[in-house]
């Protein structure tokens, strides 16, 4: 009997905290999504059915914001994935100073979205920014581009910042997977006269596939939910053209204090992520991602 209780005893503090401070608020949020809940009118809170969702469907900006979110997530994930993969492949072979090199190149992982956002907002500044200056010096442009004031460009800057920040995570994960491939597999392939490209597609890729799948899944979810870069770099501007779903939630909840509407957005976000995770695991035929 004692044996059965022991593991739960050790887990108790963690589970208690998560249930109280994650589970309970979450249930609250879902309820709130079906309520008229405005912080500006605390005495006027009542259930209003699917009013919030109707408002969401009727919101002229919501479709654009949904589209922005998909572009932001898709391009960021692809960018981080490819660049991370290239960096990891380059780091696979040992060389002198590799540890030191990694300490520098992996640094952005430890950086806050807040400071990364600042760096990119400052670099892409329309008047004083270094990017415009470099482009002009290279003779590519003759007038300053208002990066953060132009629809399309502003979202692109957020995406560039997100890619920059996320390359290390992908590189670290993929590198670890690469290093776990036994070297004799490659030796055998060499003896058989298997070329570099074929080795990559027939040995390396299949070996690291589980890591690629888990990492991409976790990262997609994480990027979808992250909002500090958007908040710092563009604050959704100009006119919501770089707004993403969670950043919009933030501004609805703590800008206009419409908690009910914000919660409805959040429920939509969760549904999208849930469907995505299920589809992703189904398509990739991977069932062990629950193992992290």
């Amino acid at each position: 009997m004692k044996k059965k209780i022991e593991p739960w005893l050790f887990l108790f503090p963690v589970l208690l905290i998560l249930l109280l401070l994650f589970g309970y608020p979450l249930i609250n949020s879902v309820i709130m999504a079906f309520q008229n809940y405005k912080l500006t009118a605390p005495n006027d809170i009542y259930f209003n059915g699917i009013e919030n969702f109707k408002k969401l469907a009727g919101d002229p900006d919501s479709l654009m914001i949904l589209k922005n979110s998909f572009i932001y997530v898709f391009v960021s994930v692809i960018g981080q994935f490819l660049l991370g993969l290239i960096l990891a492949l380059a780091l696979k072979k040992r060389f002198r100073g590799r540890g030191l090199y990694q300490s520098v190149v992996f640094l952005p992982w430890a950086f806050s979205g807040f400071v990364v956002g600042l760096i990119f907002r400052w670099s892409f500044n329309g008047e004083y920014g270094v990017v415009n200056n470099l482009l002009a010096m290279l003779g590519l442009t003759d007038t300053n581009i208002a990066w953060l004031g132009t629809p399309g460009f502003s979202l692109a800057v957020v995406i560039i910042a997100m890619i920059w920040m996320g390359i290390p995570f992908f590189a670290i994960m993929i590198l670890a997977a690469l290093q776990s491939i036994p070297s004799d597999v490659y030796e055998a392939a060499d003896v058989d006269g298997c070329g570099t490209m074929r080795q990559f597609f027939q040995i390396t890729l299949p070996y690291i596939k589980p890591t690629l799948i888990t990492t991409t899944l976790l990262r997609t979810i994480w990027i979808f939910n992250s909002l500090d870069l958007v908040v710092i770099i563009t604050d959704g501007g100009p006119a919501n053209t770089s707004q993403t779903l969670p950043a919009y939630m933030y501004s609805k909840a703590f800008g206009s204090y419409d908690f009910g509407f914000a919660a409805a957005l959040g429920v939509l976000l969760m549904v999208i992520l849930g469907v995505y995770a299920l589809l992703f695991l189904k398509v990739t035929k991977y069932d062990k991602a629950g193992d992290f």
């Binding site: 994650f22 270094v130 979808f224 939630m249 193992d291």
Partner: protein, 280 residues
Amino acid sequence: MSRKTKNAVGSIIRVVILVFFFLLVVLPIYWIVITSFKASGEILDINNLTYFPKEFTWQNYTDLFEQFHYGVLLKNSVLVSVTSALVVTVFSMLGGYSLARYKFSGKQAVILFFLITQMIPGILVIIPLYIIFSRMNLINTHLGLFIFYVTVNLPFCVITMRSFFERIPVTLEEAARVDGCTKMQSLFKIVFPIMFPGIVSVFVFGFIGAWNELIAGSIFISTPEMWTIPVGLKTLIGKYNVEWGLLMAGGVMALLPTAIMFAVMQKFIVEGMTAGAVKE
């Protein structure tokens, strides 16, 4: 192509790639550091962008401390980050040990539950928490922020700690028990010392998670004496006026502790991050 030239071409490509990524990371960092040492006149000189300060100055840093009271922000950030990271580490050790060493029904469900917490948008939890914290008078307190950071950083840290425990053979613990150690003794004298780098990296995960957090901080904290570093610095971004010099100096100061931690602990942190994802 002969094998030799093929190898040579391969090395050149590799060097080019490595240099590219080095510059990609270093140049933006160079830019924030160099801007922080420029006088504001030089920063906002439209016609003449300098790639190295004409006049090297500590002005932004002294202003940051003397006018913006950065010392207070620093103290608040250290307080919240260290305490929450400590608690996260201890609870992760307990939870991680349980998940690594016991077989019990419901274990898979617990792990799935941790995964699901990673899928939930933080802001969706923050909204109701804001109401709950208001009722409990936890708004605008460090205690509220501490509780929140412990909660959000726990799931990842527990799972990471589990994989550190899994790397240590159970036989080691059993041998200690045979030699007359109690369970606690075998943990404290044998297991924890071996795991020390892992324990420290979990602490670093918890610390960085809290140190870098902006959104919950700016929602839960409102008075300047209570601000953490990102929350305080964000107020320097006005609608029409952005204090770039101060912001860049503040940004550099905010990056320093995490950058040093990462550089020193890189090997272990990387091990910690990958421990769960890559099965050897």
